[in-house]
């Protein structure tokens, strides 16, 4: 899994490529929580368009990101969900809990 963060004053975009699983989720979790806690970002977009697989530890990291964002009145958005990750969020009853957009542009304009 590779992570790339694009950041400016208004928002952070976390671009992930590869699988998010027990091996890689700790680094993903840390990146997301850092942006919210240390950097105080108010808009965090996680781009999952290059992620084919996410396991329950990856889902847990997303949930922690969402909780942290709510605590700080920040927005936490997911974009580019592929079929596999979408299905895992559906099965874990989280599909309507997250703010989900098709593309980064859609998320930025929302």
């Amino acid at each position: 899994m590779d992570i790339n963060v694009k950041r400016d004053a208004a928002r952070s975009i976390v671009e992930v490529a590869g699988d998010i699983d027990l091996y890689s989720s700790p680094a993903f979790r840390e990146t997301v929580l850092d942006l919210l806690k240390k950097r105080g970002q108010k808009n965090v977009i996680v781009n999952l368009s290059n992620v084919d697989y996410i396991d329950s530890s990856g889902v847990a990291s997303l949930v922690e990101g969402l909780q942290e964002a709510r605590k700080r009145s920040a927005r936490f958005m997911l974009v580019g969900l592929k079929e596999g990750p979408r299905r895992v969020l559906e099965l874990t009853l989280l599909l309507n809990v997250f703010e989900i957009h098709s593309t980064e542009e859609d998320a930025l304009q929302s």
């Binding site: 027990l22 091996y23 697989y53 396991d55 530890s57 079929e83 596999g84």
Partner: protein, 150 residues
């Protein structure tokens, strides 16, 4: 060997991806539909992750085995470890709620698979995950014939 394919990996999460490829390729070889394959990969991956995290408590020096088999309309995956005895059927698995950070692995396994069985076999935990297929899988052809080299 109970299945046609068996893999043993060190109990380090770096090998989970390889184990998922095996499950994926196994399902493709026996003609399981893509969508169903994705979910099955998830269930098996969660079971292997649980062994690494919980049965072995994060110790990377142990091993976990996965056997993949198909019998008529039954797809079967058996996960075996020599760790802390744990019967996943003894545990209540409520639907996950959004506030909880962990605790979705067993729920995914039970939701995706049709049957979860547990047995303690000598010093091993042995979990069998099964899925009944809509149509019989392509026969796995154990001993079903010969391939000629040319």
């Amino acid at each position: 060997m109970p299945g046609e394919v068996e893999i043993t990996i060190a109990s380090h999460p770096r090998w989970l991806r390889l184990a998922r490829s095996v499950v994926q390729d196994f399902c493709v070889a026996v003609d399981i539909a893509d969508r169903q394959t994705q979910s099955i990969v998830t269930a098996v991956d969660e079971a292997l992750s649980n062994v690494m995290k919980h049965a072995y408590g994060g110790d990377h020096s142990r091993f976990v085995s996965l056997s993949c088999g198909v019998h008529d309309k039954e797809l079967e995956f058996e996960i075996r470890d020599q760790g802390f005895p744990f019967n996943p059927l003894d545990r209540d698995v409520p639907p996950p709620n959004e506030l909880r950070s962990g605790g979705r692995g067993l729920y995914l396994i039970r939701t995706i698979m049709d049957r979860v069985e547990y047995r303690r076999d000598g010093g091993s935990n042995c979990i069998r995950l099964s899925k009944t297929l809509d149509a019989p899988a392509r026969p796995a052809q154990r001993g079903a014939g010969k391939t000629n080299g040319h």
